[in-house]
Each structure stands twice: as structure tokens, then as C-alpha cells.
Amino acid sequence: MASDVVNDFSIQVATVNGSGSQTANLVLIRSLFQMGIPVSGKNLFPSNIAGLPTWYTIRANWRGYIARKKDVDILVALNPETAREDVLALDAGAAVVYDAALKLDEVRADLTFYPVPFDELVKPVCPDAKLRRLVRNMIYDGVLSRLLGIDLAEMDRALEKQLGRKPKALALNRAALAAGDAYAAEHLSKADPFRVERMDATRGKILIEANAAVALGAMMAGVTVVTWYPITPSTSVVETLIDYMKRYRVDPETGKATFAIVQAEDELASIGMAIGAGWAGARSMTATSGPGMSLMAEFSGLGYFTEVPAVIIDVQRVGPSTGLPTRTSQGDMLSTAVLSHGDTKHIMLIPSSAEECYSLTMKAFDLAERFQTPVFVMTDLDLGMNTWMADEFPYPDAPLDRGKRLDRATLEKLPDWGRFMDVDGDGIPWRTVPGDGLPAYFNRGSGHNAKGQYSERAEDYTSLMDRLARKFETARRAVPPEVVDEVAGAQVAIAAYGTSHWAVEEARGQLAAEAGLATSYIRLRSYPFTQAVERFIDRHARVYVVEQNRDAQMLSLLKLDLTPGQVGKLRSVVYYTGLPIDARSISDEILAQEREARQRARP
């Protein structure tokens, strides 16, 4: 047996959609987390309710690398349909826990096989045949706890956390867990190198799906109007928000809500309502994904042109069209930056983590009101629907920024007021809202002058468009800045954003350790970019822009801001399989391009 590999492996559980493996998978992750080991869980599932193959991957890594790992170290094969294929895809040396009936040990000889008679084990544990299908999964948790050395008590605790309120289910699952553990102790002899050891790297952290973090950010931002239309993978943003709001935003005395959440008839209506509410002074939001974004285009332009705040959460999935609805992507970056016709430009915030889904969503509401414009939070399916470790979310340290909402005292101090008049020189006018008793104005998506009156005059139009551009430049100084990790003397740099961050961090480790290539790193968090991006590019010879789409969309947006010299330094690394990007795909591609560059440089 090779030397031990401690706290560094990936587990893939292959089951059938709808077979109830979620509890077993979450218990597995949570028990590792409770043992202090950095961990992540990703559900690779089909667009289907039940019956199609689904894979759940768990990554444990003592260094904290929790991006998807390309290769699988331990396969739990429970899906007869895909089992052979799953086994053939493994690297030599991997371990396979499988349903003994599948006879997978006949497929290859270079793996460690652990056959488990699931059906036989589940029978005595769960006399009710109808429930067996659900309880059965807990057996592999028991087996893995024994094989990997996961403390059974931690599994038990995790199980209780998961099912605590359902005593009957808890008892059945406990029995299954014990049965798996006992079977492994008695019948399986450990022959693979993977095992766990307690660490202390998760203290003070939480486990959360980042869509819930977005919901929390919205609630703590004081959202009052939420309008939406269900679409994977954004649905759980609003469904979780509904749960939170019912609990924390209902007046205990009157039983009345301090919010309204409306399921609209489509995304044209959901964003229309959000715009109507934002215009009328509410903090409003909607959440959607690609197809919904396409439908929201016209209203997004209206919001930009008539300067109405609203927050739009885009949990990106694979397009074009319906695409791969349950797979992840960063494919809406370019279209969202300019969503709608005419010279439209939008502010986008781009979280990389659950913490940022919380903090940047909250920030989006402040920016939307400060800049009186729709603000887009660009997350993705990998973040939104998967389980992430995060630091506990801090309570907001600043009051809400409601922007330039006029009151009577301010109105009296202003030399002159028109709804679209730039009295402060920052491109941002002052607004009134219906019902505030202050001067009214007529909002229109057609050409208008500084007072909001209909106008087709060339000067009125160009001065409005120039002011909107000026406002966008002001936003450049207010958006969350890029996060820069500059390595002294590094010639090569990486620029990335969103969930690619996790794979980039690991890829930088690989490049340094395996190829001696030190890389600087800039993580983009907003559009418009701040001035820091240009300065960063100036200090490096080549900058690899890593992203999860085919067309290097962020690179295109960067080009709009950069000089030809700076553009010449940009290289592209794209990944667009629908799976979350992995480190190896990045480091391999960067090394290949570096080699090519060296060859070309040779005379």
C-alpha cells in the first residue's frame, strides 16, 4: 500500500436523481467539516426530477483547496446505469465502494474495490420496504467512516443536525449508518491510502449554499419588495429568502410583514414590478438565470435610462437558450454588462464565495440606490446550489445608503431642482418618490431633458447620455475593488472572477510547485473595474484571464477599458464544460501557452 494520503481526496457518489442521497452526502460533508477539515460539496445533477444519473462530489483538502478536483479518488458507485463508465473513468489507484450486485471488480484490476451488499444490509435495518430506498444511502456513509477513519460520533452528530426534527427518520438512518460501519469493520480490509485526521481549519466557520447567502444579504439590506419567476438555479434564492423573511421580518405585534414577495407571471413582469417598486421608493429585487436575463433586457434598459434602482441576481447557468439548465457557467457577463439596446451599461458585482454573496448582495442595494440604476449580482450555479464553507457573516457595520432621495430641507437648499439635473457634478441627480409630497416628475423611457420633459433635442439627448456616462465613472470609484495578490518579480499574472477563484488559487500552487512559475493574481469583483486593473496589467508581462465561458467574455470587457499595449498582454484561459472549473485545466493551459510563447520568442 502506498504511503498514506491524509486529508486530501475527492469522493464521488454516483446515484440516480431522486433517490434521496442528499442527506447522506450532507452528513458526509458535515462530519468532515466538524473534524476541522476544509471541505466542499458539489452536486452535478441532471435537469430532471427523478430517474437520471447524478453525481455528488466532495472534496477534502488540508490546504483549503476546495475547487472541483478533476480526478476522483474514491467512487461510491450506486447507479447501475453509469457504474461501468464511472469506473472506467477513474485513475489507477482509486478506490471504489459499490453495490456488490454490480460486480464492478470485473471491470478493472488497477483499483481498490470494496463491495457492499446494500440491499442485504438495509433489510434488517429498515423493515418497511418502502423506506429502504432512502435509508439505504446512509450505509455508504457508515462504510466510508470506517474506511477513511471519519469519527462515527461526528457522523452521528451531523445526522442529528440534518434530521433532528424527524425522530423516526433519524433512528432509521442511524441504524443504517451503524450497519455500514459494522459491515466495513468486519468484511473490508483497507487497501487504499486515503484517510482523515482531525484538524482545526474550520473553527468559527459555517456551511451554506451561497443562494442562501444571497438571500441573507438581501434581507439584511432591508429589501422590501421581491418579485420573481422560478428558474433553476436561482429559485432557492427567493425560496430561502421567503423562509428567512417570514421568520425575521414580520412585525411580532401585528403579524404583518415588512416586505412583499410576489411570484410574477414571467420575468418581463418580475423585473417590471421590481422597477415599479424601485421607482416608488422600495428596495426591490428579483432573481433569475440566463433565459430570464434575456427577457429582462428591455426593462433593464428602461431602468438604466430612467434611473431607477433595482437589484437583479443572476445565478448563471449554461446557455445559449435553455442550454444545460443544471450546469454552471459564467456565460452572461458580456450580455449583462450591456443588457438592452442603445448605449446601455450596467453595474455588476461578482462574488466568489458565500461570504461575498452575502456582502456584495447587500452592497448591491446601496449601489442601486446611490447610483439610481439596476445593479446586477453575477453569481453562478456552482456557488448558488452547492455547499460552501464560509466565515460567519458579520453584522453590517454601516447604515443603509438610500442615496440621493430628496427631502424638503435638501430641496430648499438646492439652487434648482429637476429630476435629471446634475446639481452635484457627480452625474447623480436627486429623486423624489410617489407619495412623499415633494415635487412630482414624469418618468419616461423616451428622450427627456433635465426636468424629465419629453425632448428630442440633440443637446438634451447628448447631455443626458454624457451624464449617465459620468455617473458610471463615479461608480467606478464606489464599487468593491479588485483583490490583488502581487508576487514580487512575477512576470505572469492571472485575472479571474467568481467561482473560478478557487481553482485559480490551487492552480497557482501547482504552477509554483511543479513548474517554478510564480504568478500574481487579480480577482475582479465588479464592473466597471477600478483603476487598479490597469495598474496591475502595467506591472506584468502577461495576464491570463481565466473564465468559465467559451468566448472570453470578461477579456472582451477588459479590452473596452485598456490601451492597445495593455490589451496585447492579455491571454485567455476558458473552460466551458458545464462542470465547475478545476485547477489542473488552468495550470495545464497556462503552461502550454507559456511554452508556446517561449518557442515563438526563440530566433
Partner: protein, 350 residues
Amino acid sequence: MTTPAPASPAAGRKINRINLEVAAYRGGRTTLCAGCGHNAISERIVDACFEMGVQPERMIKLSGIGCSSKSPAYFLGGSHGFNAVHGRMPAVATGALLANKTLLPIGVSGDGDTGAIGAGQFVHLMRRNVPIVYIVENNGCYGLTKGQLSPTADAGSALKNGVVSGLPAMDLCALAVQLGATFVARSFSGDKKQLSSVLKAALAHRGAALLDVISPCVTFNDHEGSTKSYAYVKDHADPLGEITFVPFFDDISVEYDPGSSIAVTLHDGSRVVLKKLDDKYDPRDKLAALALLHESNQRGELATGLIYVDPAKPSFVDLLNVVDTPLSFLPEAQTRPGREALADIMARLR
């Protein structure tokens, strides 16, 4: 552009119950064609709001896109307005009401804006019984894009360019009744008296009020062969009854012969009194309303007046169960949960 302060009027000037002159309800100068039915409707809106004594700052006016949708700029200059995108005003109005349920919205749309591109949103606005006075200025054509057929053009009606509609007309009133609107009326831009009464009653109603107002387009659809022309409507309008609207704040009692009139009390205590021409008709009867619309369509006639009303059904905002203060004016203390809430949530995720 600014809200007029209630001032004591010059001697002899007429003021309403909140001390405003009619001028306080006027808007900018119209840019529509002279004689366009839409202009007459704007004038009736000004009169109705003045007579009802509504506060301009509580009203909002909304519209989609079209000649009709331009008209909110021409009335209620002291109220906030939103001329949105084609066919999607219902969503904007709904959102504004979610933000502030105390607002009184008037929506102005066209037959294309409502019946074609906006049919989906119209359906859901009515179905939700969103409290709005929703006026369709119905000219049977697209005015702003210069005269194409709209979905309310009657089968067989011809446009000025000779194009004949081969499809059946959409009856917006029947649709609204069927969908759950709680106030459905039809009128004609040229019928000052009836349109005023209907408008005032709609303003007193709390729920989705659809007003399908035939409003001839003098430029593209007011010729022989058009069923939305002045001449055609004058000849074919079939009033259901003479409508009188009695605002609850006016201490007047109107005597009607009980045998020939029917009175419906609206949300705010106002009453609509229908002096019957047709003995059998009761606007609270949904089936009767649908039958009436169907039968008059068959006869090539337009039933005008109050077609259906249900003052008791709770409106969309009543069902939301939100706090009394408009959400748009809630202070941070009420919208951002305290530290304990976040700590509680974090503890569960640990």
C-alpha cells in the same frame, strides 16, 4: 411639474373639497392630433379627479407605449408618472403598489398595448385584482405606428389603407370580467356624461377597474368601414342605463324610482346608481355581464356603461398582509433585522 399648494382661489373660481382648482389636475399641453379621442378622455380624467377631490400627490399615472400611453403627460401634472415600455405597464403599476399600497394608480393603455403585446400582463393584472383604474383608449388600430390593425379591430372592419381584419375582435371587457376584474365598464370618449360618471365610480372603487373607452383615431381609423369611428359608435352604442355616480362625501340624496334603478355601494361608501333601461340587468351578476357582452357583440352593438362590479372582493394589496406604513417609507430599524437575528441564523449553520 410641482405639486400645487392648496391655495384660496380667486373669487368666483371653483374649488373642490380639498381646496384645489381644476388647474391643479391639468398636465402639459397635448401633442396628439386635434380631435383624437384620447384628448377627450384626458379632459374627463382631469374633471373626474377634480370633482372627486383626490390628492394629486397620492395619485400615480402609468402607461405603456402608444399615442394613448403618451396622454398621462397631459393630465395630473402634480402627480408622479411613469411612461414605461410597450405592454408592460401592469407590472410597473403592480410594483409601485407593492412599494406603497396607499397610492392611487391610473393606468392608460391602448388596444395594441393591452390586447397585443401586453395581453399577458393585462390578464394577470385583472386576475390579481390589482387596485388600479386601468383605461384602454380603444381605437381599433395602432395609432403611433401609423394605422396597423389591432386585436380589437372588428372582423370585417377596414383600415384607411384598405386592409381588412379577418380575425375576430378581442373583447377586453369580457376578458376582464372572466379574469377577475371587479369593475368593468365601457364608454365612449365622446360621451362626456357617461364617461365622467364611470371614471368617478372607478376612482372610488378598490380593485382592478377596467375602462374600455372607444376612442376614435381621427387620423387612421375614423372613416366609413371602421367600427371605432365617431359615426359608428354614435349609431351603435347601446347604453345599459343612465349612470349617476354619488360620491360619499357629497351630502346629497338622489331619489330614484326603486323599480327602475339599482344602486351599488363602492369601497369608500360612494354609490353608483344605475337608472335602468333594461329591466333585467344587474351589474353584480357575472353571468349576466358575460351574456350581455356576447349578445351585443352578436348584434354588432356596443354595450356601454357599468357592465360588472364586485365591490366586496379583497384587492391584491389587501391580501399581502403588509404593515400599514408604505414599504417605501419604512425606516431601517424596521427593515434590517437586529444582531440577534443574524447570530441566530449563523448558529444554525455552524
